[in-house]
Amino acid sequence: MPTKHEVTAAGAGTGIVAVSDLEVHYGLRGGGLARLFGRDSGTVKAVDGVNFVLHRGEVLGLVGESGSGKTTLGRALLGLAPATQGSITYHEPGDGGSAYERVVSEMSGAELRKLRTDLQMVFQDPHAALNPSMTIETAVGHPLRIHGIAKGEELRKRVASALERVGLAPAEQFMAKYPSDLSGGQKQRAVIARAIIMDPEVLVADEPVSMLDMSVRAKILQLMLDLKNDLGLTYVYITHDLASAKFFCDRIAIMYLGRIVEIGPTEEIFADPKHPYTKALLKAIPEPDPQKMVPRDLPRGEIPDAARPPLGCSFHPRCPVAVAECGWESRDLRALLEEHWIRQEPSVYEAERELVGDLDKLDEAAKTVTVGTVANAAKLRAMLEGIRSENPTEPLWTGVDSLEETAEGLEIRFHQGFDPLLRPSGGVEVACVLYPTPVTTEPALPE
């Protein structure tokens, strides 16, 4: 019977988990008031169409900020979050190098529980991931007991061996302790011990070191690297810290609002980042080098509400190089106006606000929107022209198709945009209209 190492060597590089068009949507229940007034409570598209293949023996990084969906994706890989659409297929290694396909997203109950011997997870918060009322021995040995793999003396031996493996040696010293007796780093080691005790194939690590002190992080990361080599593991490393991802991962997938926006080998991503979001992330990482100044040209704004994502490309409201096709809409106009008003005198702000009238109209995501009244349409137009001339390079103007005075007021029409899919460009895949070749269109000029 081939040992784990042999199988790994033979199968290195082959796909072990394949994710296809995965979507994980959560319906929002909405407050009582919302339901009373019949407003749609909406869905949060935590994961919104993700495709990738995890190769055996690699470390794949899922990098993103909050709301990017990386945590949900990690859980979905293990069947801990339900897939609303798409599939996750696990190629279970069998004898002689063959593999059985198991569709994780469709499994439940006992079948899913059996999968736990192969797919495991390391959690973010070491202080919360261990049951406070269980000793370390019980907690780390529990997987074996649950699956009936070992018990009694055999169980104890395996627990001791796992503890020693993660560096909690001598094991006897730690077996009878409770989580509250251990430090953060020790707890995380125990969590790792629990994850590897069943000899899994794939380990999903959800921000394993972000809650530990800097001086301890390196130790835990080193431990994980050693385990990967010793046990032939495949990792999915979820983090918001690009720096540790650069060190730890073979391939990196950058996520934004439920999508992968760029995915490729680590060196490629860092040497030549393509997606504007990736570029921004790299620029924004604080480096312990006082020569490096605070970056001034970072994308504005923040991660949008996942229940109401921007139309077209989700990043376009913040993107410094967006073009007409990126999916401009009325909400972007509101953001523009608010940004403009920050710079104005209060009196000018008051006057202009009067002209625009009801701002909440702009909150409906629409390609065509009418503001103001028929009386002040001309003045409104002049105001917008003025804003444009203050900053002609503002990407929003590339997306404005026309400004027209109508019987209801000033009608603003935006270009049709679309949501870019991942396309190969250079050594990576990028989801941006600018890659592999930039789209060139003339921005529409208002009459």
Binding site: L80, M121, A128, A129, H142, I146
Partner: protein, 346 residues
Amino acid sequence: MFRSLLSPFRQTTGIARWLLLTGVFITAVFVVCALFAPWVAPLDFNQRYVDGVKLPKQDPPSGEFWFGTNDQFFDVFSRVVWGARTALVVVGLSVLFSVVIGVVLGLISGFIGGWLDRLLVFLMDTLYAFPSLLLAIVFSFLLRDLLGGSVVAVAFALTVIYIPQYFRVVRNTTVSAREATYVEAARAIGARNHTIIGRYLFGNVIQSVPVIGTLNAADAIATLAGLGFLGLGIQPNEAAEWGYDVSRALDDMGAGIWWTAFFPGMAIVLLVAGLTLVGEGLNETVNPVLRKRRLMPVDMPANEPSSYLAEGDAAALGAGAPDPRFREDEPLRPEHEHRRREDESR
């Protein structure tokens, strides 16, 4: 669980601590009476004759009968002592049943959620809304037909009243605990639902149960007495019961016979008070929000100016002048002595 009960005990101060100790003492007295009733009480609870001689009727307290005798020729003191046993047995049983049923239902309901949860919550809230004595009366009637007026029957009657309290607390704690990371971790390692409930949730949701149990017991004593007073409690020839004694002593009031009502009444009051004090005291110790931490006094030794300004004085410092940071020359105060030595180990 016990660790968490005992360790904060030491940290409470002042009133909370005295309350707890007083309550424990009072309760302990009654527990001793209950356990050792045959030895503490000179007579049996329904004993009318001593060596063939009938006891006097409604005799005032004296050297022979410390609490006097009542209209049924019983020794009041013995009745009080035996009553303690009755009270604690009945209440103990009922609290035990309530805890078991309430906690189990609360765990399951909180974990599973859905319509079962909503149904149970509705039921429990309804039960909880009734005054406990009223419910006790109802159930006492119902169970009388089935089980007569025995100790177990009354215990059952009391059980149902208190289940909602455990249910609510455990259910609510379970609902929040089930979102905890370690529960998700349990799922991740493949634990089945009953394992999660039993091994992962159970130990972490029952911290409040001892407090509730004690306060429940206090209320149950009073309710039991109420039942007995109304004649719905234990059959008089089954066991002694304080409430029953008080009801029989009502007529004595007019005649100036105070001891037949006073002593059983005091017993009820004292035991309820004792248990309540224990419960509230435990609440203060176990509940970290209420617990007033005992502020330890801080004794800071003299603080000399540091050598920061002594940049120019470095030369002066170097040659034999005492280093201001080196506190060897400070007069030692006894309570700091052992720490000083640690500091200066060479």
